[in-house]
Symmetry: C2
Subunit: 411 residues, 2 copies
């Protein structure tokens, strides 16, 4: 079964919005043994028809996102109906659900919201508990292209908080019923910290390529390299031995688990707690740790001490030290970590201080310089100096990754 994803929306092609549907849908399909063979983004308008028609020529399952809402640029329903030669008819159950949704919030139904109750004849509405526009499932027989045959279309709403539960709770089960015997070859994802892509492949690449029947992929992200293997379990075990041997403590996880999850897991396993003192990262480390459910067991407190005054008052960093060494220094990172440990009373404390840029660099400490400190109840404080390249957000991300990795390696 070949799967294609068509994302509609002029905003995606004007650069106003990130396409978060692709990764979400891809991850939802993988356990069913389905991979997206191609993804296409088209603007609202006739391009939708063109992309749909090509997808119908090529693929068995076509997932379409967006353009089901109430506004005038929401035209996906209309094009699907035209392309498949189906009239649009009002679905009374959908109309009632729309009415209930508005009345629950004490609102009357705006005229244009009724558009969302119009469905191509024969399409199966898919309930949307998080919005007014239902999804639609359409099973049809396609006679165009080189591969005529049955086709399954799923039209899904554009807003992620509507699409995600609908995909997980309703579309995935429907797809599982369509391809009951599909299970993917196992995939394993190794996350490596502390080296770039070239260096990682130089160390393990030749040995991994030599494993027969293993599909390999590499992906570099700020602060980590992902190695992806798809193949029989035995081959994956071979790969695992090579990666563990050659990359040692740089191996963060064998499950694709991100560094923040790995660090959270380590803390949870020992029932230990963490506090974080952030200057240049401005809360990004705390925020990534608290994206995980149950963070309150591990993460006690964060000190976003952007100003020198806050570093002194909250973390007890001596004013003298700040003056002599500068806020961005090894000694201040150490003092911040130790101050956070003591003030918050946690088992561990991380601290970062650096120059995110674009301004503030000097010859001795250029933009991108950062000092990281780790203090622990039962160990000596350690610090590291790094220099990261990239824009402000990349810098924050690289610094956060390096800080969490310092804790991981010293845990």
């Amino acid at each position: 079964m070949r799967v294609e994803l068509v994302n509609t929306g002029t905003e995606l092609l004007l650069g106003n919005t990130l396409n978060t549907h692709l990764p979400f849908v891809a991850r939802a399909l993988f356990p069913l043994g389905l991979r997206i063979a191609r993804q296409v983004t088209v603007p609202d308008g006739t391009a939708i028809r063109e992309a749909l028609s090509e997808a119908l020529d090529r693929s068995d399952i076509i997932l379409v996102t967006g353009g089901l809402g109430p506004t005038t640029d929401d035209v996906t329903r209309d094009w699907v109906a035209e392309l498949l030669g189906l009239p649009l008819v009002r679905d009374e159950a959908v109309a009632r659900a729309i009415e209930e949704r508005f009345s629950r919030r004490g609102l009357s139904v705006p005229d244009r919201a009724w558009r969302q109750a119009e469905v191509p004849a024969g399409a199966r509405p898919i309930e949307n508990p998080n919005g007014t526009a239902p999804g639609l499932g359409v099973a049809t027989r396609w006679t165009g292209g080189d591969r005529p045959g049955p086709r399954h279309l799923f039209l899904l709403p554009g807003p992620p908080r509507e699409l995600r539960p609908m995909m997980a709770d309703q579309v995935v089960p429907a797809l599982a019923a369509l391809c009951p015997c599909g299970t993917s070859a196992p995939m394993r994802v190794w996350i490596i910290a502390g080296s770039g892509e070239s260096v990682v492949e130089e160390r393990v690449g030749a040995d991994l390529v030599a494993i027969e029947g293993l599909e390999l992929g590499y992906c570099a992200r700020p602060g980590e390299v992902e190695i992806r293997g798809i193949g029989p379990a035995k081959r994956l075990d071979e790969a695992d031995r090579i990666i563990a041997e050659k990359l040692g403590s740089q191996l963060v996880s064998r499950t694709g688990e991100s560094l923040d999850r790995v660090v959270s897991g380590l803390l949870r396993a020992r029932g230990e707690t963490l506090s974080v003192a952030e200057s240049c990262t401005g809360g990004a480390i705390c925020s990534s740790l608290t994206d995980l459910a149950g963070a309150s067991d591990l993460f006690v407190e964060g000190f976003i001490t952007y100003s020198n005054r806050a570093k002194e008052a909250r973390l007890g960093v001596p004013a003298e030290l700040l003056r002599q060494r500068g806020a961005v220094s090894d000694e201040v990172a150490r003092a911040m970590a130790e101050g956070a440990l003591e003030t918050a009373g946690t088992d561990w404390a991380l601290a970062v201080t650096g120059i995110a840029g674009p301004g503030g660099g000097t010859g001795e400490k250029p933009v991108g310089t950062v000092f990281i400190g780790l203090a622990g109840k039962r160990c000596r404080t350690v610090t590291e100096r790094h220099r990261f390249f990239g824009e402000r957000e990349t810098f924050k991300r690289l610094t956060g990754q390096a800080a969490l990795d310092l804790l991981r390696r010293n845990f």
Copy 2:
């Protein structure tokens, strides 16, 4: 000139990575009068050849990202060479740049890095100051498809911190030279807070549609609706009058400027400062404010008081109040905001406390309940109660938006 963007990379289709290239490239092209007519994602392998060949049939300018690196799955160069019938030749200038890059870091060149110096004959290497793989520009004449003629390919590296400066500094000027007379009709983007898409279009939609020659689009995101208009300046002014009149204080910006930028701009204009006390958002508000360069002028300090103990110790929230009212309460939000204002000595302080879920909800205060407090030196403290639906990250985002909007409306 029709533009197509081809993103290569199995990791994109397995859901391991977000495609951030599309918005970046789209925004870079718009001022040149160029829009992306179609974006396609394909896995590494022969699908790249297929997508490239279709793009060459259809479009004048084809931008390709990814697959230029040193690893075995980096095959874009090879497919382009084959498709255009060009041999791969070693470019000595590129080879020297690769050598210099590694030696600057005290490393010798890994064997596979040399692959990156192989370019299709006649292609123009595009310097990559942030990585070893150069970009490539290829001008060719395409004889396939219904529209034979000149084509311009640009092959760009996959890592965003390599692609972005290359796009901005080298590809955009090259494209500007190709289409010297292209300038887009002006675009204006209005950001609206506090209502959903249906309600926003119900209030302004009919009046906006009545403006002749105005291309309209809507996009809903957590906490905001974006209205996008493209057309002559006079028509945009008409639209602006309607939006300002009908949506009043819900209009956050007329420039697409996000809420965090708008709030930062307000503070900067008056030279005032802000501190933030976060519980359920765990640093997300601080982090979004410090993504902006120059944040240190406005943003003094953040208190990520996840535990009750931290709320007491850092913000002076009375233990009695926490016990009586609970950490998630109007009174505690108020006390947190006032505590942050006093402790940090800022002009303004925002505080949020809520239940991000999935656990922790009660009948009276279900998951998604949040209280927001705003304290200011010269005004009475205000609080708001909200209930947000969605997963943990959506909840954090909605809460952060509501907090910043509370400050904006009370500034």
